[in-house]
Symmetry: none
Subunit: 425 residues, 2 copies
């Protein structure tokens, strides 16, 4: 009982739009436990669409989900093509005509003849109502082993139709009896291959499965279980998650929706401590990450964007002689920036970044990608960390990795150091 997603639209082939419908439907099918192994994109072309339908049936799909091609214009051909493929006549549905006419009237417009096309559905098909637009879909079982669902390409309309009509229909037909539930563990500071090496035995599991993926400096392990209920799936996942967390150690910073910024935020909140930042090459990106978390005002005070050296000196009390001697991109200046913002804003922690994001500004001694992170701690000490990001990283990547790296250093410190408050009581 496998499904296949078929997205129809020449605009997808031209790259004019991102295929977010495929992602939405994929997530929904996974959540319902309906397996699907292929997605296809095809243009508004009847011959090619027929070929795609045949291919899907040949490879065993029993549920075909179509998006796009339901509009009123001559190039919207999905419904006609399905009728043609399965050799059924198109019949005008009077309820759809009435519904479209009413929607036009609501907008103070008169329905025009081209809209009548949207009321034609194959004989034997049911209407899949579209409460948010004029193009309805269909639910159709043209053969005993083939069920078709069609949706318009507009994501908001498609999603509402899916939730309100398609899911109840599918469940009533016995689709989606088991569910797939996933947890994604997130790791920072370890290459994908190294993590994969550590946990390689887990890749052989079948339920739950464990799969790695990487991007933007972080590595994720997705644990997915198939089970008749959420509780059973969670019970299958829990011991594997515990083991993987143990093996990942400090590299594992969180799961699912958690970010480095949200995790640091929770740790600060738990201690009742505050944070300020001093940013050079990231230019505000670290502050932006931290304040992306709603409620961050309870622990994040603010900071200085010390892009120009004059700001480092004037606002952060960086020593001009040290700046001249060591350069703005140095452990000394990173430490002074962190200490400077900590004192300026009176926060428990001060976190700083100074580096060369490129593409210009690198030298042989200090190449593009060299970044220092400074961390001023509540106990009065200051530490710094040097990073050399690869020559292959561009300006945007270096800035992103620097901000994440800074948060990761703070996270590790918050996890391993004893809170001053705890010590003093």
């Amino acid at each position: 009982m496998a499904a296949e997603i078929i997205c129809v639209g020449t605009e997808l082939l031209l790259g004019d739009i991102l295929n977010s419908n495929a992602q939405f439907l994929a997530q929904q099918l996974a959540a319902l436990g309906i397996p699907h192994y292929y997605q296809t994109v095809v243009g508004d072309n009847p011959t090619r669409l027929c070929r795609v339908i045949q291919t899907a049936i040949d490879r065993g799909a029993e549920l075909l989900i179509f998006t796009g091609g339901l509009g009123p214009t001559p190039d919207d051909l999905t419904c006609e093509t399905l009728a043609q493929f399965f050799d059924a006549p198109l019949i005008e549905d009077p309820e759809i005509v009435a519904d479209i006419a009413q929607k036009y009237a609501q907008r103070g417009r008169v329905m025009n003849p081209t809209n009548r096309k949207q009321a034609l559905i194959p004989q034997g098909a049911m209407v899949l109502p579209n409460p948010a637009g004029t193009a309805p879909g269909i639910i159709w079982q043209p053969r005993p082993s083939v069920t078709l669902l069609t949706f318009p390409g507009v994501p908001s309309e498609m999603q509402r139709m899916w939730r309100e009509t398609a899911i109840p229909y599918l469940q009533s037909q016995g689709w989606g009896k088991s569910i797939i539930y996933s947890r994604t563990l997130k790791f920072w500071g370890i290459p994908e291959s190294e993590l994969a090496q550590k946990v390689r035995d887990y890749f052989d599991l079948t339920n739950p499965t464990v799969a790695p993926y990487a991007g933007k400096g972080e590595v994720k392990l997705r644990i997915s279980a198939q089970a008749p209920s959420l509780e059973t799936a969670q019970a299958l996942i829990a011991p594997v998650e515990a083991k993987l967390r143990e093996m990942g150690g400090m590299y594992c910073y969180g799961a699912d929706e958690e970010t480095l910024a949200s995790v640091v935020g929770k740790l600060l909140q738990a201690r009742g401590q505050t944070l300020s930042v001093a940013e050079s090459c990231t230019g505000g990106g670290l502050g932006q990450m931290i304040t992306a978390i709603a409620g961050s005002s309870s622990y994040f005070t603010g900071g200085a964007i010390a892009y120009n050296n004059s700001v480092k000196i004037r606002c952060l009390q960086v020593n001009p002689e040290d700046l001249a001697t060591w350069g703005a991109v140095s452990a000394t200046v990173a430490q002074q920036m962190a200490r400077g913002v900590q004192q300026l804003l009176g926060t428990h922690w001060g976190l700083s970044i100074t580096g060369i994001a490129g593409p210009d500004g690198g030298t042989e001694e200090k190449p593009v990608g060299l970044v220092y992170i400074g961390l001023a701690k509540p106990n009065g000490t200051v530490e710094s960390f040097a990073h050399q990001f690869g020559h292959n990283q561009d300006r945007s990547a270096i800035r992103h990795l620097s901000a994440c790296g800074a948060l990761d250093h703070l996270r590790r410190e918050l996890l391993t150091s004893v809170a001053i408050a705890e010590v003093s009581t």
Copy 2:
């Protein structure tokens, strides 16, 4: 001579990631004038991948472009599967081994055995170098009528490999003889429907075509021409672009790769003037946008992330009584923040943002989405602008729209005001 895009990855079938690679490649193929009629997504499963390859060949594809499944882990199977399908042995490429080892060494790490897998390529294939990561792709013509290109799934790596190696290769092989060339005009501050109404006659053109797109507060008009050469395409586009720019007036801020930040940067550079920022609800996002532009250090000095009111008072000289009377989110405080940072950092311009990004913190009088932007000018005056972003906008959108809106106000001021320097000479 049609291409087909095949994206490999179970994470795509689970809906964990959005298939932006398919969109990028679709745009690129369109730009090169290489037709493509189908895109397929398939999981990390050799049997199903073989089936997809056969289907693509059966429906006439002569150029197969694969993304994903090139990593070091056991479930990355694209290259092995291709070798198996076309019955070629896998051979370890010593240059790839050396390249991977060197990349690990640069990061101070040792290459482990799983990485060697990435150095295996089918006999007869050429390496498609990956300057930004460890997983290289291949260029392979296993049969006279079939050319394969493989790319890793990480978008930044894939895109760079495409631009640096794949395009020159394809052109050298006679692919892409006619080209589609596009210019995208970008507009800020005007709703899509209003702009579409203004320029509606242009939507009927056939070469070049004009199509509108909207997203994240901006509207774009893409002008696309198909022609045998770049020069011919550009000549077709130029008069239409000129007309659309004229109709768009001040709403049109740039084209193609230009951003509000890059346009503001150029205007500041032309005047030899400097800018600083004071950010409350955006938390650094405005500074990050400005410093995303390489070379921004010549006009951007820095700023204050005044998230907490104490920073507004202490660093930006915001009057505590005004803060108490009018609240942090007010025209008065926005103006004082802009003036404060302008004076603190001694810049020509000071730009500030204070607002309620939500989801909490809104009141009946000051709802979520209320944002004030302050602009301190070189002539000593300060202005502020109020924005009320809609209830349908989330925290992230409100912050983005606020930062873009602030840059747009500065852009308009830079375009319409006379530079002090010009007046005084």
